[in-house]
């Protein structure tokens, strides 16, 4: 890829390939090399020193703060400020201490090194001789802890004076990245919480984490309150385009959802939600635009671009989130207009970009995100699959709630697994996909997607289930639930979009099916589909079944990792620049490719 440079870390000889301008500190994360640091790479602790083979390497003002002229002339630099503008070698001292670790992502150990830190300091407020201002006192205490350049949050500036007059000399300072977010009387370092959120178009999932221990305290999901304004991202955008008031209305709906989530999670964990100091939110580009109140219209019309694409970092008070007012609310960057921070989180959690083997990451949903990649490079696209997988435009379609058929097995009889163990009321996405795959397996459906007529399969044990409703062919799944020919066409249209995406990415990368080491099915829906059905319908390419893995809500896992470790967050932030975005709708032969991908591979027999 253009603009890539190589950083070689000695003594191990680890080579990190990063885009030009990446700091040495971040480059080290890419190869899992822990460089010592307490500030998290924001240039305030001076501990991430490395020695370059290039003595002429530019000197940053921060270098001069922490390093002597002799050290500078020997090639020592502060790694989090040194941007690799060329390929180079550097020597890394052993870190002082190994951090705690937690398991996150797809079972990977994550060193617990949150961006949020609490420091117990003694102020000299009560010294009558000391005439320095409260701000100067704070600055002195911060400098003493190696955090001389942190910014004091706006909300603190106005109230901290009172607090300090009544608190006594011992206070706990809470710092998140380069922001001082809280000053509390006495020692409170046991209370330090973070919130990871996957802000989905339909469902919002949150995970409340004890950042001191790297422990998950509670996890919960809620429906996105924006749903009343439309089911999919395009209709949400269309709603907000009409006026600024509507954009605000949409933003408030998202914030209310997050507030409810934070409060419910805090209740469950028995803590106060105002102890949450950091939030990492992932979501598709539209969701994050709408959350931050930013114009999302350009996403929905040609040439389909986002208003912003980098990670954002705001104070909770600005968003009126019901957590600590000084808390930092941070997002991950986007890869393209329809491949967002949720995909970045998912790729991070599954380590797709750091593994040598080629993997295909598919998050199946209304907009399905597809990424093909390895440490050699990655390509991403979004396939507009439509609402079929969420039960939309399906005659008896429904969400995976009580009464939804979620599993279907056909044989001499029809066997159903229904959510909540009650009479079937409808069918959800995973049931829909398995039903179609099963119809193909038992010979009631052709690869073209057409259901056979009873007279074509007179001897079939399930022939009586083949019915007609107002001229439309259908299969009777249960007394109240049918699967119609029109439903199957909806699924086919969705499948065609995903298959086209996969084939375009393979072609763009110059790779073939045989090169795919593993297929990862991500997302709450993606991981609910059984791999056999997904393959029979062509939602994933035809690879050995054991090579198809469900990875669950990888987006949330990625957000959790970014929250638990500032190093992980920096790696995640680097992902978007490593992935090449492919815009399917702009492909000149898209229509023909799409038409070629509409049939089901199907697999007959047992």
């Amino acid at each position: 890829m253009t603009g890539e440079v190589q950083v070689t870390f000695l003594p191990e000889g680890l080579i990190s390939e990063v885009s030009r301008g990446t700091t040495l500190f971040v480059a080290a994360h890419w190869v899992d090399l822990p460089i010592d640091s307490t500030c998290g790479g924001v240039g305030t602790c001076g501990r991430c020193r490395v020695r370059l083979n290039d003595f002429e390497f530019p000197i940053h003002p921060v270098d001069q703060e922490w390093l002597t002229p002799v050290e500078l002339s020997e090639g020592w630099r502060i790694a989090c400020r040194a941007e690799a503008d060329r390929s180079l070698e550097c020597w890394v001292p052993e870190p002082m201490q190994m951090p705690l670790s937690a398991i996150a992502g797809t079972g990977r150990a994550v060193a617990v090194e949150p961006a949020v830190k609490k420091l117990l300091v003694a102020l000299t407020v009560e010294d009558p001789e000391d005439k320095s201002s409260v701000e100067q006192q704070l600055r002195k205490a911060l400098a003493g802890a190696g955090l001389g350049s942190v910014k004091i949050s706006q909300h603190l500036a106005f109230q901290v004076g009172d607090l300090l007059r009544t608190s006594g000399p011992d206070v706990t300072l809470t710092v998140c990245d380069e922001h001082l977010v809280d000053v509390e009387p006495r020692e409170t370092s046991d209370r330090c919480l973070g919130l990871a959120i996957d802000l989905g178009t339909t469902t919002v999932v949150g995970s409340l984490i004890d950042l001191a221990k790297g422990e998950i305290l509670a996890e919960k999901s809620l429906l996105n309150r924006q749903s009343v304004f439309g089911a999919d991202v395009i209709s949400r955008i269309a709603y907000t385009t009409a006026s600024d008031t509507r954009r605000l209305e949409m933003q408030i709906a998202a914030l209310e959802t997050l507030n409810q989530l934070a409060i419910e999670l805090a209740d469950e964990a028995g803590i106060d939600e105002r102890q949450i100091y950091q939030v990492v939110v992932v979501g598709n580009p539209t969701m994050l635009h709408l959350l931050l109140g930013i114009d999302a219209h350009p996403i929905a019309v040609e040439p389909f671009v986002t208003t912003f694409s980098s990670e954002q970092d705001l104070e909770a008070a600005e968003l009126k989130l019901a957590i600590h007012p000084g808390a930092r609310v941070q997002t991950l960057p986007f890869i393209g207009a329809y491949v967002g921070a949720d995909t970045v989180g998912g790729l991070h959690a599954t380590d797709v970009l750091r593994a040598d083997e080629l993997r295909l990451f598919v998050d199946v949903g209304t907009n399905s995100e597809i990424v093909l990649g390895s440490s050699d490079g990655a390509w991403a696209c979004s396939a507009p699959a439509g609402p079929a997988f969420e039960g939309g435009r399906i005659r008896n379609g429904m969400m995976a709630s009580e009464g939804a058929i979620r599993r279907v097995k056909l044989g001499e009889q029809v066997k159903l697994d229904v959510v909540g163990d009650q009479a079937p009321r409808g069918i959800c996405g995973s049931g829909l996909i398995q039903a179609i795959a099963e119809l193909g397996r038992v010979g009631l459906l052709a690869p073209s997607g057409l259901l056979y007529r009873p007279e074509e399969v007179p001897e079939h044990p399930l022939v009586s289930r083949l019915i007609q409703i107002d001229e439309v062919r259908a299969f009777q799944l249960a007394e109240e639930v049918v699967l119609t020919q029109v439903d199957i066409r909806e699924v086919q249209a969705a499948k065609g979009a995903i298959s086209t995406g996969i084939s375009v990415l393979l072609e763009t990368a110059g790779l073939g099916l045989e090169d795919i080491h593993e297929v990862l099915l991500a997302g709450s829906f993606g991981s609910a589909i059984d791999p056999w059905s997904a393959r029979a319908l062509g939602l994933v390419p035809w690879v050995d079944l054991e090579r198809i893995q469900s990875v669950g809500n990888a987006a949330l896992e990625g957000a959790k990792m970014a929250l638990m470790s500032f190093r992980e967050r920096q790696i995640a932030r680097g992902i978007s620049s490593k992935v090449q975005y492919v815009e399917l709708s702009a492909m000149p032969d898209f229509n023909n490719r799409y038409l070629m991908e509409l049939s089901f591979p199907l697999e007959q027999g047992t």
Binding site: A238, V301, E302
Partner: protein, 215 residues
Amino acid sequence: MSDLLKSLQEAILTIDEETALKVTQELLDSGMEPEEILESGMTEALLELGRRWNCGEAFLPEVVAAAGIFERCSAIVEPALMAKADRKVSDKAIIATVKGDLHDLGKNIVGAMMKTVGLEVHDLGKNVPTEKIIEAVKELQPKLIGLSALLTTTMPEQENVIKALEEAGLRSAVKVMVGGAPVTQEWADRIGADGYAPNAPEAVRVALELTQVAA
């Protein structure tokens, strides 16, 4: 209906292009009027295709392939039609996918099918700015405009085109029909369109109706 006309319809519906083209030629050679081949043969097949589409029996690959066959069969009939002294001048139609939208599969199918019922179709393409549509209307003076939009965010462009036609004083000279997955009859009524169709064969029927009213 003659057996040959029936086998033409059957050939189109089963995507048997070779037979369809052969039978069309045979019908012409047998002395059947070109208008009758178009109206009785192909229009019937078109309506049947619409029915099959609605109940899910026919799907996109079949409809696209059928539209191609329609087009090539009409091309066989066309010279005979042109050679007739008393032939009626074809009505012109402009079709386009509106600005901001790159979806053109449906619009292309509608275009191909419109040609088979004797309309002179000018396809302006996809992501077409309103000004370009207005220019084309001034230049070609069509009887009909077909506007396709596949996104709820680009649907308002259909309304913008209608407004622009009004401002240019062209609205009464032309019929406007709208379509696309999110478009409904209600939307068509709201923005003051003259016609709407939920699928391609139906669009052709509506197009004929509108151009005949306009005649």
